[in-house]
């Protein structure tokens, strides 16, 4: 389905256009992962697939939760949950930059009238031991995509090298609709972003900053950490990884509650990372139960 002038701009159309474009590039259009994650990079469709050596092309929408970014629905461009469009191409196409540019053109953006820049921005996630070299893509000064060549994940050197394109759907849609307020965006023809998400933002901000039970969170973190280790020891690495993702989310909530000092914060990140490294190694050496 290509963008037509008479179609109203909406997040729904944006997603469908991106799906259509990347499916044409040979991507498997995956469903969103059904756990709380901070970024599309952390989901199994990215994390595990970049670790082995078989080719992989996937594209999916991923709701991403970052409790500390909550603003009670009062800030027009900052939310505790936003939607990423995640693409992984492994090995990266030689002309992937041009293909990415073509994806923007396919959304109807006349790049000739705009300033598109690839601005140096190397990305890293200490929790999953991943880092890469790349850029933030700026469109007239607005960051719309993180473009990264992954070099390591789980502390392991990757080969072949995957390219990760993470579009910020709300940002991109704000550009397309020419709006300053995220909540004014259209998700579908007659449902706005605010209709869908304003209450959620208000309540979750209150929860993350003021109400979440920190004792429960700390206990949950510790108990799940043990469970993850025991599953790793039994070579059930896929369920173990899910549990690490849960730990990571509990950590984010403890952070937004202001319940962890910077020392503890380094300690907890390190603990998750230790588990994820083991998982990555076992996945690589095919030590899992399957």
């Amino acid at each position: 389905m290509d963008f037509k002038e008479k179609d109203k701009m909406s997040i729904q159309n944006l997603i469908m256009n991106l799906h259509s474009f990347w499916a044409r590039q040979g991507c498997y259009i995956a469903p969103s992962y059904d756990l709380e994650v901070g970024a599309g990079t952390m989901t199994p469709d990215t994390f595990f697939r970049v670790l082995d050596d078989r080719p992989w092309r996937v594209a999916y929408v991923q709701p991403s939760r970052r409790p500390t970014d909550g603003r009670y629905g009062e800030n027009p461009h900052r939310v505790q949950k936003h939607f990423q469009y995640q693409v992984i191409i492994k090995p990266s196409f030689p002309d992937i930059q041009q293909i990415y540019i073509d994806s923007l053109t396919s959304l109807g953006i006349p790049l000739q009238d705009h300033d598109l820049r690839f601005d140096e921005d190397n990305w890293e996630s200490p929790t999953i031991g991943a880092w890469g070299v790349g850029w933030q893509v700026l469109l007239d000064g607005l960051e719309i995509t993180q473009f990264t060549y992954f070099q390591q994940a789980g502390g392991i050197d990757l080969f072949p090298i995957p390219v990760e394109l993470t579009y910020g759907l709300e940002r991109l849609e704000m550009f397309l609709e020419g709006k300053d307020n995220m909540y004014d965006l259209w998700w579908s023809d007659d449902v706005s972003y605010g209709d869908l998400r304003l209450s959620e933002e208000k309540q979750f901000s209150e929860y993350s900053f003021n109400q979440a039970d920190t004792d429960l969170l700390k206990k949950s973190f510790q108990m799940n950490k043990k469970e993850a280790q025991s599953l790793i020891d039994k070579n059930l690495i896929l369920p173990a990884y899910d549990i690490c993702l849960k730990c990571s989310h509990y950590f984010n909530l403890l952070d937004s509650r202001g319940a962890i000092s910077v020392t503890e914060r380094m300690k907890l990140i390190f603990e998750i990372r230790k588990l994820v490294s083991q998982i990555a190694r076992k996945y690589r050496s095919k030590e899992d139960v399957s």
């Binding site: 030689p94 540019i101 000739q112 705009h114 598109l116 140096e120 007239d140 080969f159």
Partner: protein, 691 residues
């Protein structure tokens, strides 16, 4: 013949472009010169996506003449003029015909032989060989891999254009074949362009909206900025670093002028320009010192007729400024003093405690330094600045713009009405960030900066973290250099060694190592930093070692020592005195300390030496105490003639213990005086190190 190379990549950081061009120029020149190919006029150009080298090389290697020498003529020819077996044997071994043999005149006489001409290889054959190696050997601060390519490079390579003498120079690297094609501007004219020469290349690229020459792009940017700003009677708020980055970030600069709502001008200039620079690469616009509600941006385009670029940037900036204003409003709801009550929630370093503890240490350290510098009236402001200087770490503003720490604290303190010695001290206490950055302008700021940097340095060294050139996560080297720079610039005269002691006492018992160990490590660390500073100032390396060899108890004095040595280094008395000092050192090696007893002098020369030395010492010591090493040195050098007479007439290492030890004691006393001025044994003398 003209050589043109363009390596087309994905966007490279500016530092990578510069080092790549430098390496390409150097390796090409070197490799070709090594192979006797003439290289002239290597020019390099770059954009974020292209590395360009253009030059002129001779078409082939210089022919080499090889001289094959055989037996002398005298034994090569028989009486009847035919060749002897010796000559025939030589010709056979060299695989040449007898008819090719020549007679070659050498210094030793005439010999039979052959002048062989090794024809030089065509340059293009050599280039085909060396170019893949040169390119794949380019090294960058960070290398990356992509796809399934075996290459490691700064960023993925997409295309290689290589011409020699107007024809494609074919070679392959990482699966990419060189060709005679380049391409135009990635968005506006992405088409393939065929070229045969540099001038054609430059013109074609310009037509396709790529300006290959970085100095031309810089000129364009500055001209366009001038054009936009002169109607407003305004100028750019200078940001050389940003300008240099943008010169490389765009292949075709298009400057645009945007505006933002004037209400945001209530925000301080530092916050406005940081919000503009970070993430959007925009310049602030000023009229003298007054900030105007405009900004300048540089797009990679050649027009903006629909004003979409400008409007887009305005929208993004407004959102950023709105955030900044929100942060400011939130932050000023509570005072820095109130905020500082939560400093215990922020860890400074895992083993070094939180920022509340650091603040308390800073208060003690600045108090000590203020006493040593006799800064009584500034003490109150100093203590207040110290107690508040880290509170801005708890602000929303610093959380968003971490580069602004210190300055934001100062601005909030100013907003609260704190006096200049307090708010400016907080504002400037991270300065200098580098040796080129200015030191704090106030005495309070200077002392606070020294205290903060020293507290961090001692702490990190104390817990045993190793600092090397490539691993310095806390920026300790920069910290220590900044500290030294302040002390030297402001000429602060106090015992650095005792300050270290004091800081160690203030830290208490949290370190595993002993205080002495940490102090020694720290002194060595600071010695290295002082060496670096002096090297950058251009002093001779051996003079630096000599000056630092006296110890860095007083940093200012180290500098004064160095200056004294530097002043005298070319005078005729300098080197003879160095030789004497070295001779004394050699004699004294491995001997324990002895004390002089005047009764045990037996020779006139040693009594004379002792008398002269005593007078010299009496005159020099007060000068040394004041740091007047220049004059002290001149006085001490007067010992030269009497010590020479001593050496000429007196044997130090005599049998009799009492006399021998006494003579050693005298030399030790002299050496002890010398070392207070400099470790002269470190100084290199021209000619030999004869005694």
């Amino acid at each position: 013949m003209q050589f043109l190379l363009e390596i087309n990549t994905e966007e490279m950081p500016k530092s990578h472009i510069e080092t790549a061009l430098r390496q390409l120029k150097d390796s090409l020149t070197e490799e070709l010169k090594l192979r006797d190919i003439r290289v002239s006029q290597v020019r390099t150009y770059g954009t974020c996506r292209r590395l360009v080298v253009v030059s002129d090389f001779s078409p082939r290697q210089k022919d080499k003449e090889e001289l094959l020498i055989g037996p002398p003529k005298s034994v090569s020819l028989t009486e009847d003029g035919s060749f002897t077996p010796a000559a025939k044997g030589f010709a056979k071994s060299q695989k040449i015909k007898l008819s090719e043999l020549e007679f070659i005149k050498t210094e030793k006489g005439e010999y039979v032989g052959l002048k062989k001409v090794l024809k030089g290889l065509p340059t293009q054959d050599i280039l085909k060989q060396i170019l893949p190696k040169i390119i794949s050997n380019l090294s960058f601060p960070k290398m990356m891999r992509w796809s399934d390519s075996p290459l490691r490079f700064s960023r993925p390579i997409k295309n290689i254009l290589c011409l020699f003498n107007q024809k494609t120079l074919p070679f392959t690297i990482g699966g990419i074949n060189s060709s005679h094609f380049s391409s135009g501007h990635r968005i506006h004219f992405p088409r393939k362009i065929k070229v045969r020469s540099f001038s054609e290349y430059k013109k074609a690229l310009k037509k396709n909206k790529v300006i290959i020459d970085q100095s031309a792009r810089k000129k364009m940017i500055l001209q366009q900025i001038e054009k936009k700003l002169s109607p407003l009677n305004a100028t750019l708020f200078s940001d050389e670093k940003l300008l240099d980055k943008l010169v490389f970030d765009v292949e075709h600069p298009h400057v645009f002028l945007g505006s933002f709502p004037a209400e945001y001008l209530k925000l301080p200039l530092e916050i406005l320009s940081t919000a503009m620079r970070e993430g959007q690469n925009l310049f602030s616009v000023v009229q003298g010192k007054k900030q105007l509600p405009y900004f300048i941006g540089v797009a990679d385009a050649y027009r903006d007729n629909k004003a979409l670029i400008r409007k887009g940037n305005e929208r993004v900036l407004k959102a950023r400024l709105e955030d900044a204003r929100f942060f400011w409003k939130q932050d000023i709801k509570s005072s820095l003093s109130d905020k500082s009550k939560s400093l215990d929630r922020i860890i400074f370093q895992e083993k070094l405690g939180n920022y509340d503890e650091k603040t308390k240490r800073l208060e003690k350290i600045v108090s000590y330094i203020a006493d040593k510098l006799e800064a009584k009236k500034e003490k109150k402001s100093l203590l207040q600045a110290a107690s508040l200087c880290k509170a801005d770490l708890l602000t929303e503003m610093v959380r968003e713009f971490s580069d602004l720490q210190g300055r934001v604290g100062g601005l909030y303190a100013k907003e609260e009405g704190k006096p200049i010695p307090v708010w400016k001290a907080i504002y400037e206490h991270y300065q200098p960030l580098s040796l080129e950055d200015p030191s704090p302008s106030q005495l309070t700021g200077a002392i606070l900066s020294i205290a903060d940097k020293l507290d961090s340095t001692i702490g990190v060294l104390g817990i045993g973290i190793e600092v090397t050139g490539s691993r310095d996560p806390f920026g300790l080297r920069r910290n220590a250099q900044g500290l030294c720079k302040i002390i030297l610039e402001k000429r602060y005269d106090f015992s650095f060694s005792r300050l270290l002691d004091k800081v160690l006492v203030i830290y208490g018992d949290r370190f595993l190592k002993t205080k002495n160990e940490i102090k020694e490590n720290s002194l060595q660390f600071f010695k290295n930093r002082m060496q670096h500073i002096f090297e950058k100032q251009g002093y001779r390396y051996d003079l630096i070692h000599a000056a630092l060899g006296s110890g860095i108890d007083n940093l200012l004095f180290s500098h004064l020592r160095l200056k004294a040595l530097d002043q005298l280094k070319d005078s005729p008395q300098f080197e003879p005195m160095i030789l004497i000092a070295k001779r004394v050192n050699n004699i004294l090696r491995d001997h324990p300390r002895y004390k002089v007893n005047e009764e045990f002098f037996s020779e006139k020369e040693e009594r004379d030496l002792f008398t002269s030395f005593s007078i010299i010492e009496d005159n020099a010591l007060p000068l040394i105490a004041k740091g007047d090493f220049s004059r002290a040195q001149k006085i001490v050098f007067r010992i030269r003639s009497v010590i020479n007479i001593f050496f000429d007439n007196v044997l130090v290492m005599v049998e009799e213990k009492r006399i021998r030890r006494n003579r050693l004691a005298l030399l030790q006393a002299i050496s002890a005086l010398l070392i207070q001025i400099a470790d002269y044994s470190q100084i290199v003398v021209t000619g030999s190190d004869k005694n």
